[in-house]
């Protein structure tokens, strides 16, 4: 039940935003993240954004994984971060 999903704010009016989850759009309340702006990524739980996400920090985490665990597995790391399709 503590599931939360990242999405991008595509428009907002007062504290009500429209958030894009990989193509699916939903109304989301920004009452808990008053600092959120258009184009920000937010983590959404049960209709409320609960945190603003920094794409830079996601990239940093992936880079850390690559540094620590990539030595035995060079393929995934030879190109840009998203070149491998699932």
């Amino acid at each position: 039940m503590c599931l939360a999903v990242p999405g991008k704010i595509i428009s907002l009016k007062n504290s009500n935003a429209e958030v894009d989850f990989n193509g699916v759009k939903r109304a989301v309340s920004l009452d808990l993240v008053p600092e959120a702006k258009k184009n920000d990524y937010v983590l959404v739980h049960a209709g409320f954004a609960i945190q603003v996400l920094e794409p830079k920090e996601a990239e940093e985490t992936l880079k850390l994984f690559a540094e620590i665990y990539g030595k035995e597995h060079k393929d995934a790391l030879s190109g840009p971060l998203s070149h491998v399709k699932p």
């Binding site: 039940m1 939360a4 808990l32 049960a46 609960i50």
Partner: protein, 375 residues
């Protein structure tokens, strides 16, 4: 080629096989070193039900080194709700004219008389599954002649969301909206586990989204007072493997601390706006836990300013202790003292389609995860 920000959150590297294999190889080495410190199996607990599901669904459990045991903790909201509070939910649903709104997970949890919300709906009660408590507030605005009750259960992730909905209802002057506040707090739950003399947990994988709200500070006592390692962890397979390895390294080094693997979502201070709203709408209070009982300062109740929105007070629903389902080990599983296959009912009399206890009912209960994906 530059990647877009969205691709970083959805990058296939979060579930990359090669990285995972390398992390598992590292885990093998670390478990051997950590076992020497613990004198046997290394027991970690994932406190959050969403982690339980993520671990099970990825299939990684069977790839873990033999000396590592992941226990499921008291982090599935429906599972930790006491039988007495489940009975209160069903009593609310019996009131003529009331519309019950709830997250789907509550629908099939049985009360002590064998009924659940699902069967009550079949008998004519007006019970609706909603995605957000805001849907319940909108429903109350659209149906001014009906009383709308939201079944609020959960931890620090969900409580602020319900606080947000209640605050909106108050602002809109809605007199026909109320909610239960059967909320539980994670840090006191950890303290309950740690203060048990039989405790054998060597590290906690801390809940990512609870921590996004409360931050890191509330966990400090776990590392300092109880000397147990803590890592706030994300929910992708690589997050989980990296989180376990960070815990193992703390065990090996003998220097427990509170680390943050999920720093893209969890800040040290958490979410101050959500904390402020929680403090406005609720107050710390006693809570009734399955298998543990009613414990002081382990949950949230409505604050004086918002008590008009307390469904239990509005409809005067008393609490009475009720026995847990006979033979069900859910309570012991929540305390990390048993695993689902230890229960004699598991997979026999108790399955997801005919569940005896809440650990099998809830989609993120430990028993449901073991049944669906195997151990």
């Amino acid at each position: 080629m530059k990647t877009s920000p969205a691709e970083r959150f959805a990058s296939p590297l979060w579930r990359d096989r090669g990285l995972a294999a390398s992390a598992l190889a590292e885990m093998e080495r670390l478990v051997a070193a950590a076992s020497a410190k613990t004198g046997g199996t290394v027991n970690f607990m994932e406190v959050c039900g969403t982690h339980t599901m993520a671990i099970a669904a990825s299939g990684m459990r069977r790839l873990f080194p033999k000396g590592l045991r992941m226990l499921s903790g008291p982090g599935c909201p429906v599972c930790v709700t006491s039988q007495g509070d489940i009975d209160r939910v069903l009593a609310l649903a019996e009131i003529p004219g009331v519309i019950i709104t709830t997250f789907g997970d509550m629908m099939k949890v049985k009360g002590s008389k064998g009924l659940d919300l699902h069967s009550m709906r079949e008998k004519g009660a007006d019970i609706r599954v909603v995605y957000s408590p805001l849907d319940a507030v909108d429903l109350a605005a659209a149906e001014p002649s009906r009383q709308v009750v939201f079944i609020g259960v959960g931890f620090e992730t969900t409580a602020p969301v319900i606080a947000g909905a209640v605050a909106r209802a108050k602002k809109a002057g809605l007199k026909n909206f109320s909610s239960t506040a059967f909320f539980k707090l994670v840090p006191p739950a950890l303290e309950l586990l740690l203060s048990d003399p039989e405790n054998r947990i060597h590290g906690f994988m801390l809940p990512g989204h609870v921590s996004a709200i409360i931050g890191l500070e509330p966990y400090r006592f776990v590392a300092e007072k109880y000397k147990v390692p803590c890592v706030v962890t994300g929910f992708e397979p690589m997050d989980i493997l990296a989180g376990i390895n960070m815990l193992l390294k703390q065990v090996v080094s003998g220097r427990p601390s509170v680390e943050d693997e999920y720093f893209r979502a969890v800040k040290a201070k958490g979410n101050p706006a959500a904390q402020a709203l929680l403090a406005e709408v609720f107050k710390v209070s006693e809570a009734s836990w399955r298998a543990i009982g009613t414990v002081k300062a382990t949950g949230l109740a409505f604050s004086r300013a918002y008590e008009a929105f307390d469904a239990v007070k509005r409809f005067n629903i008393p609490y009475s202790d009720a026995p847990e389902p006979k033979g069900c080990l859910c309570g012991q599983i929540l305390l990390g003292k048993a695993l689902p296959p230890d229960c004699p009912l598991f997979g026999k009399r108790c399955t997801p389609s005919s569940a005896v206890g809440p650990c099998m009912v809830s989609s993120e209960g430990a028993c449901a995860a073991w049944f669906k994906y195997g151990g």
